[in-house]
């Protein structure tokens, strides 16, 4: 939608929904405001108040806009859809800074679909879309539909703070929020690997780093920021993702060079004399670059004016609707190539797997980020980047030295022992068929996870069953007397390998609190409704699978480490938690209105129903739920419950009917608050 509009004529209003000294958007607005004012544009800012609720802010914006003349132009970031309630009569400029949703997606965290759709709406109705880098555009396309004509021009740089400084105290500075998105895990590795280099961290909280080459300070004002930058030789920017980086620009305005990954937005602004660009996530190259630069500090005057000219050119071209749409041609980066390289870099194994990953990425980029090796690299602090504790794999486990928790054969009563060591909510039993070929390796992999107590040698309970055991679930239950059932109640997680369906059902039905997970290595199942969760091979194509509440698919089911990791994942997602949030499964929820009076002590989820009372011809529960589900408009579940039924929730999120999910929840005694 091209509209020729002269920005000089009316007022120009920035909307700041973050309004925080730590926010890049707020910093950008401050900068842009000053520069545009100097070009005669009448600028204003509408800021969100400190603790103001975002919805309250959204509703306040239209009223505030009335103050600014007849046809102000409104600029806002796409994040938080701050312009949701302003009428179409306003000219709207949306700048793609980096949606919170996008940030969450990149970190493999959950994001609210409704937030994304609100932001999408604003993007679609905007008169102009701009972005501070090509990377911002490419990344935004994964979540949003963008119009063809996005204007790319850089964020402006704050006025030069460059001045002659004495010998800087610190080698390397880091500035920003102490969170994984800012790449702190890479930073930790660099700190560890370079004990002779001094690091100064300017952050928002105590990073709790004990290394001797590190010191930190709380940065909550421009003075402190300047102080840090004036006393450091270099700035590192190891963020997972940045659309530009106001921190980087501030550093440059102080004459401090930066080292960052080549896919960060700021890499598109300058050449290597100011921004040393390292290949994506090659941490050793990053370290080399630091050493290189420390020997080779750039003493030139920072190119503040030239960058700001690009900003001004871009801005006014956009306002006229003509001229160069892309002002960052020089250092453009091919994002898709970068992603391919990263995927290859993280897939060290076979070609087949790489192809499969790439296909998944092409098919479902959102899903890929949320669930890929890439996300795993981002999400587990320390896990992939070398700070994990692990014990060496025991070469062979001597089971004769291990106390069995239980031995199940065909005839006699089943007797359970006592749990090894009490772990609240995490006592785990691994039950294997005698003669299980992978037993030693699997247990070895579990024991080697020194940072995960339930699997440690001192805690993990091990039991066996005779693989020829036969019977019915009822027979099985009847072989366990009341005392032994009580002993089994001490266990929180039972992993049973290659057990016949009746045994899985029997075990599951013996106790109320246990979470029973069936691992299928050499065995198939006909009934996926009995266990709470399944670990199985990705090529398992048994029918009836769609009824499984939760499953984890493993590429190589005969790889004991992969099985161990799958087991750990299931324990971690189900362990007792302090805070149990409501997660949306699908549908639009007016969080204020629809969830009034929701009592998480009573209910584990909410169902929004609209329509007439369901009526079925035969009073069969299945039919009732199917009929009911047709008019279900939305559903949310407590996180602990969501994780139990994750696979069914995924199905609903993909557009399936919620009937299976609702049935599974109700069957297990979950109470849902039906609102209609």
């Amino acid at each position: 939608m091209e509209v020729i509009r002269n920005f000089h004529a009316g007022d120009y209003v920035f909307i700041d929904p973050f309004s925080s000294p730590a926010s890049g958007v707020s910093a950008y607005i401050a900068c842009a405001f000053n520069i545009l004012c100097s070009y005669g544009v009448k600028c204003h800012v509408i800021r969100r108040d400190g603790l103001e609720d975002i919805e309250d802010f959204r509703r306040r914006v239209p009223g505030e806009l009335e103050k600014y003349g007849d046809f102000p132009v409104v600029e806002a970031p796409e994040s938080l859809a701050a312009t949701k309630y302003i009428s179409d009569k306003f000219y709207l400029h949306i700048r793609l800074h980096c949606s919170k949703s996008l940030g969450a997606a990149i970190q493999g965290e959950k994001y609210l679909e409704s937030d994304v759709s609100d932001e999408q709406k604003e993007i679609l109705r905007a008169d102009w879309i701009s972005a501070p880098s090509h990377v911002a555009v490419a990344a935004s396309r994964y979540l949003f539909k963008l119009p063809g004509n996005v204007w790319v021009y850089p964020n402006p740089i704050p006025p030069m703070k460059y001045g002659l400084k004495g010998d800087p105290q610190f080698d390397v500075a880091f500035l920003g929020r102490w969170q994984s998105l800012k790449g702190i895990n890479f930073l930790k590795k660099l700190i560890n690997d370079m004990p002779d280099v001094s690091f100064r961290l300017g952050v928002d909280r105590d990073p709790k780093i004990k290394n001797k080459n590190v010191s930190w300070m709380l940065v909550d004002s421009d003075e402190r920021k300047s102080n840090l930058l004036n006393t450091s030789r270099l700035l590192v920017l190891p963020s997972l993702f940045e659309t530009a980086s106001m921190v980087g620009l501030e550093a440059i305005s102080h004459g401090v060079q930066i080292i960052c990954w080549k896919h960060l937005g700021i890499a598109e602004y300058f050449d290597s004399s100011w921004v040393e660009k390292v290949d994506w996530f090659k941490i050793d190259d990053f370290a080399l670059a630091i050493r290189d630069r420390l020997n080779n500090i750039n003493c030139e005057v920072p190119p503040v004016d030239s960058l700001n000219n690009l900003f001004v050119d871009g801005f006014f071209s956009m306002s006229r609707g003509s001229g160069n749409r892309d002002l960052l041609v020089n250092y453009k980066v091919d994002i898709s190539l970068l992603i391919k390289e990263t995927v290859r870099h993280s897939m060290k194994n076979s070609q087949g797997k790489f192809k499969r990953k790439l296909n998944k990425f092409k098919r479902d980029p959102k899903g890929f980020f949320a669930d890929s090796a890439l996300a795993k690299m981002f999400v587990r602090p320390g896990a992939e980047i070398g700070v994990k504790k692990s014990l060496p794999l025991v070469s062979s486990v001597d089971f004769s030295k291990v106390n069995d928790f239980v031995n199940i054969d065909n005839d006699s009563r089943i007797r359970f022992g006592d749990v090894k060591k009490q772990l609240y909510g995490l006592n785990t039993l691994l039950l294997m068929p005698s003669g299980f070929s992978m037993a030693g390796e699997l247990v070895s992999c579990l024991w080697s996870q020194a940072d995960f107590s339930p699997f440690k040698e001192s805690h993990l309970n091990i039991g066996w069953f005779d693989s020829g055991v036969e019977g019915s679930a009822l027979d099985f239950i009847n072989r366990i007397d009341l005392d032994n059932k009580k002993k089994l109640e001490e266990i929180d997680f039972i992993f049973v390998v290659d057990a016949p369906d009746f045994m899985v059902e029997g075990l599951r039905s013996c106790t109320t609190g246990v979470r029973l997970i069936s691992i299928l290595v050499d065995c198939k199942s006909d009934n996926f409704e009995v266990a709470d969760a399944y670990i199985l091979s990705s090529v398992n194509d048994s029918s009836g699978f769609s009824a499984a509440r939760r499953f984890v698919k493993i590429a190589e089911i005969d790889n004991p480490m992969q099985v161990a990791i799958g087991m750990r994942r299931l324990v971690q997602e189900s362990k007792p938690r302090d805070i149990d949030l409501l997660l949306p499964v699908f549908g639009d929820f007016d969080l204020g209105f629809d969830l009034i009076d929701f009592d998480a002590n009573i209910f584990q989820g909410v169902v929004l129903y609209s329509g007439d009372s369901p009526v079925v011809s035969d009073p069969i529960f299945d039919s009732l739920i199917n009929e009911f589900s047709r008019s279900v408009k939305g559903m949310m579940l407590l996180e602990s419950v969501y994780m139990k039924y994750k696979s069914l929730c995924d199905e609903v999120e993909r557009g399936g009917s919620p009937a299976n999910l609702i049935s599974a929840c109700l069957k297990d005694g979950v109470l849902l608050d039906v609102r209609y």
Binding site: S472, A473, L474, I477, E505, G506, R508, S509, C510, T512, D599, N601, I602, S613, P614, V615, V616, D618, P619, I620, F621, D622, L624, I625, F628, S663, L666, K667, D668, G669, L671, L672, V674
Partner: protein
């Protein structure tokens, strides 16, 4: 061919549930009876309370035994409740080769998630599987839901403006499990406290009155409290409606919805919702408002009369039987 002889068989009287079905079937023109293999333990509170309309096998006289056997032999349909031992199955199969078999589950074997299906292990060829239409259908989602019957005529006492709110409440025992944990110390304390300050009049019957006596008490009360802990409702709620009581429980939507499917109007029963923490405020609100109490009382008994007379609900069973043979 219409089934005429219907025999209900259960291990214990099951608080009279099979007997009520048999009675209602008789009123509808069938020839039906209910056989319990044993009564409740002799020393216990339920002994002889539910056997008025049943034949009890264990300890039966020779004449009664002969009656029992002939009923089983002549049955066109044998309706098994919950579970019966292999010996009984053997007797049935030896004496009756043409009956159709119906299975009905009332309560699970043990506390959940032990909803292991027992129908398959009984050893009879069931043509239909039924489940009581309260919370249980969610554990047997493919079974046909059938209502429990109330064998009383509706009768009620409307609260007058000067009367205190009369609440009838039968305490339960502390048990564990998702669906069995009905007991709440808080509820008992709250009720006693409300009675003590004179806000309500509490009728707290001694254990195990005869059902008829209990119903008379209930018909003189204004409010019936079922349990407010599990999300299910029980027979006592159905009787509360019959007695024109404001019937309080914590039944969730799906318990009510599946029950509604068994009624002629398919409308949800007018239970008043409360949980453990809101009970005292719900009761206070009722206590302070006799008009509101009356309204709900009338709504309750009207719902019962329109939907829950045995003569109406028995259709659920007739439908099942008509599809057999």
């Amino acid at each position: 061919m219409s089934a005429i002889n219907i025999v209900h068989v259960s291990q214990t009287p099951l608080v009279g549930a099979p007997a009520k079905i048999a009675k209602a079937l008789c009123k509808a023109g069938f020839n039906s009876s209910a056989i319990a293999l044993t009564d409740y333990p002799q020393k216990g509170p339920l002994y002889k309370k539910f056997t008025d309309d049943m034949l009890v096998w264990n300890g039966a006289s020779a004449a009664q035994l002969s009656l029992i056997k002939s009923k089983l032999t002549d049955a066109d349909i044998i309706h098994v409740h919950n579970d019966i031992p292999k010996d009984t199955v053997k007797v049935i199969l030896e004496n009756n080769t043409r009956a159709g078999f119906v299975y009905q589950v009332h309560s699970p074997l043990r506390e959940g998630p032990l909803y292991v299906r027992r129908a398959e292990s009984i050893g009879l060829p069931f043509s239909a599987h039924l489940v009581v239409a309260q919370y249980q259908p969610r554990h047997y989602q493919d079974y046909i839901a059938v209502p429990n019957l109330v064998d009383f005529e509706p009768g009620y006492t409307l609260r007058s403006d000067s009367e205190k709110l009369k609440i009838i409440f039968s305490p339960s025992h502390s048990r564990s499990g998702r669906w069995n944990a009905k007991y709440s110390e808080k509820v008992e304390n709250d009720l006693k406290a409300l009675a003590q300050i004179g806000a309500i009049e509490l009728i707290w019957p001694e254990t195990a009155l005869h059902p008829n006596e209990l119903m008379r008490l209930r018909q003189a009360a204004h409010v019936t409290i079922d349990e407010v802990m599990t999300g299910a409702f029980h027979q006592i709620s159905l009787e509360g409606l019959c007695a024109g009581n404001v019937t309080i429980n914590r039944a969730d939507y799906f318990s009510k919805a599946i029950f509604a499917q068994c009624t002629p109007s398919k409308i949800l029963p007018p239970f008043v919702y409360s949980d453990e923490s809101s009970l005292s405020s719900v009761l206070l609100r009722l206590a302070q408002n006799p008009e509101l109490t009356r309204q709900i009382q009338i709504e309750s008994v009207r719902y019962f009369t329109d939907n829950m007379l045995s003569s109406n609900l028995i259709d659920n069973f007739k439908n099942v039987y008509s599809k057999i043979q």
